[in-house]
């Protein structure tokens, strides 16, 4: 059962508004693939195009190698798990799960066999005769999964299905979803704005912003080598420093940080940069460490403005002495204990980082008119949207 999904130059417009810019992408059969992005970035639109609720303005969708143009929702080999689950409240758990088979004319005995097997899979044995209104949030979630699996989809589409659950249950369901995906071998396409969900469960993640895919990569690459400023800022936390490129040696780049002095970093994935170009340097808070004021390598000096104890780590908010910009620094357990005396508001500290951990990307921040605060020009992301198609 081939469950690959291929998007060929798909564009979606609603009137004048372009919800999805030209997008091409292949999702492998059996992959757990996530679309991650803030609300309004177009990820749900993309899901609706795959499921058939929306017809793209341009481009083609192939599922399992077959073109989907003209194939209506109810004939596609996909099944969707809705954000609010959309269980049928007037039906029992059995009736919900068997609905897809019932409308296909499968006889009652065969239907019951399937629903019993799926209830076992989602660990809800014996709940079949219950009404769905009697179930808890987590149980409803499982019924929704079983109902979608009952129609033996090649691709399961999940639209933020965990967002209604509380934190503990959400974390538990993440593991469970991953297990079910492994057991069934079905392609999962998962939509979320929660990076934790996307990073923990997915084989690959597509980060989306403003109708455009910013980067497609496995979670670790996404975190370590973001391809655009948006990805760097949206996935995990980061500090952004503006600089000018001096020269590069292989991957290693020397930067002129202006008042901050000389800085260093590594070029992001597939990014082309020229000498003298304005760039942005991204350093994650956990990659910054206290160093002595005369240590070698890039140094950043600042005053501690706030200290947030976060359990396993300590987050410092510091103001850079040279530029006045805020720098967030996360200190692990060991380090914070070592510097316990210095972690007070007003304390001046110097931080350093390994240039291999810092990413240099083109300066893609829109230029803002300082008097009106309006965006006057949007810089195009060159070489940023690098979408590998397998």
């Amino acid at each position: 059962m081939e469950g690959s999904v291929r998007l060929d130059e798909v564009v979606m417009r609603f009137g004048d508004f372009t919800a999805i810019e030209t997008t091409s992408l292949t999702i492998e059969s059996g992959e757990f693939f996530s679309f991650l992005g803030p609300s309004g970035c177009g990820k749900t639109t993309l899901l609706n195009i795959v499921s058939g609720f929306l017809v793209p303005s341009q481009g083609q969708v192939h599922i399992g190698g077959e073109p989907m143009a003209g194939v209506p929702v109810n004939r596609r080999p996909t099944a969707m798990i809705f954000q609010n689950l959309a269980l049928f409240p007037l039906m029992t758990v059995f009736e919900n799960i068997e609905f897809g088979l019932e409308v296909r004319g499968v006889d009652k005995k065969a239907r019951r066999e399937v629903s019993e097997r799926l209830l076992a899979l989602v660990a809800l044995e014996g709940s079949g005769p219950k009404r769905v209104t009697e179930l808890s949030g987590g149980q409803k979630q499982r019924v929704a999964i079983a109902r979608a699996l009952a129609v033996e989809p090649r691709v399961l589409l999940l639209d933020e299905p965990l967002s209604a659950l509380d934190l503990k249950l959400r974390q538990h369901m993440r593991a469970e979803l991953k297990t079910i995906q492994r057991k069934t071998g079905i392609t999962f396409i998962y939509i979320t704005h929660d990076q934790g969900e996307a990073l923990t469960m997915s084989d690959r993640v597509a980060v989306m912003s403003a109708g455009r895919i910013q980067q497609v990569a496995d979670p670790m690459t996404l975190y370590r080598s973001p391809a655009t400023g948006f990805v760097a800022a949206f996935v995990g936390e980061t500090n952004r420093l503006e600089a000018r490129l001096i020269d590069r040696e292989g991957k290693r780049i020397r930067l002129d940080g202006g008042v901050l002095g000389e800085l260093a970093g590594c070029a992001g994935e597939g990014v082309e940069l020229g000498n003298g170009e304005r760039v942005a340097l991204y350093v994650r808070p956990e990659h910054l460490k206290p160093v002595s004021a005369d240590a070698a390598g890039p140094r950043l000096e600042g005053d501690v403005e706030a200290v947030h104890f976060e359990g396993a780590s300590v987050m410092l908010e510091t103001r850079l002495s040279a530029s006045g910009e805020t720098l967030r620094v996360q200190l692990g357990h060991e380090v914070s204990r070592q510097y316990a005396d210095s972690l007070t508001v007003g304390q001046r500290m110097t931080f350093g980082y390994d240039p291999a951990d810092a990413v240099v990307l083109p300066d893609d921040r829109p230029v803002v008119d300082e008097t009106t605060g309006e965006m006057v020009e949007e810089r195009t992301v060159t070489g940023g949207a690098h979408v590998p198609s397998a």
């Binding site: 099944a79 959309a86 609905f99 109902r147 009952a150």
Partner: protein
Amino acid sequence: MSSQRLLAFGLRFYVVVFFLYLFLPLLIMAAATFNDSRFPTVTPWDGTTLRWFGELAADGGMWQALGNSVIVAFGVLCLAVPIGISTALFLNTVSSRAKPFLYALILSPLLTPGVIIGISTLIFWRQFGVSGGIFLTVLGQATFIAAYVMLMVTARLQRFDRTMERAALDLGASQWQMFRRILLPYLKPAILSAAVIAFLQSFENYNTTLFVVGYDTTLTVYIASKVRTGLTPAVNALGLILILVTVVLAVAYEVKRRREEAARARA
């Protein structure tokens, strides 16, 4: 503060008087049924009797009219309920620039006096050689009762979560299967209520019916003619029976509706 209290007391007193005003007439009418007087009254009381029930039972015209009323009410049900449901689905689905106009047209039968609906129906069908009778009564009544059905179905339809529809289609249901298995069961309580209301509306209608009923007679028309011509307490006996039936139906319907509402609130 004492003037506030006086006002509050006054309001309570008013409410009591209001309900007396509402029920006293019905009680007096009911009481008059048992008065052994040739005219329907409670003063003077000429002795207690049950004979008016017997006279009522022997009244062939009454039974004939009752039969007609039931036939008409079923006819109205069969016409007004499907129309009302269709209209509600239409309004819930379609967005168009013509919609405000159509909406006004759809509501117009509710805002038109019943006599005019009767008159226009009578005039319209005359050109096809159809004169007053049960058929026209059904058409005339259904014209405005359909709008009531529409309002009741719409009220429930507006609370319907349309992702249910999407879920059904996504699971492979055809649009017809979705309608049959998801939307219609959801609307069922509203449709049943609307059917009950439609039946009663038809049963008690007078203004429209008067113009289109022709030489046939419905129960309401029969009662009205009795009141104006051969007035005896037998009319009261009929009224009392109808009141008791409606009260029982009304209370049962209300209790059922509240129980459902409570169940929904719990869910």
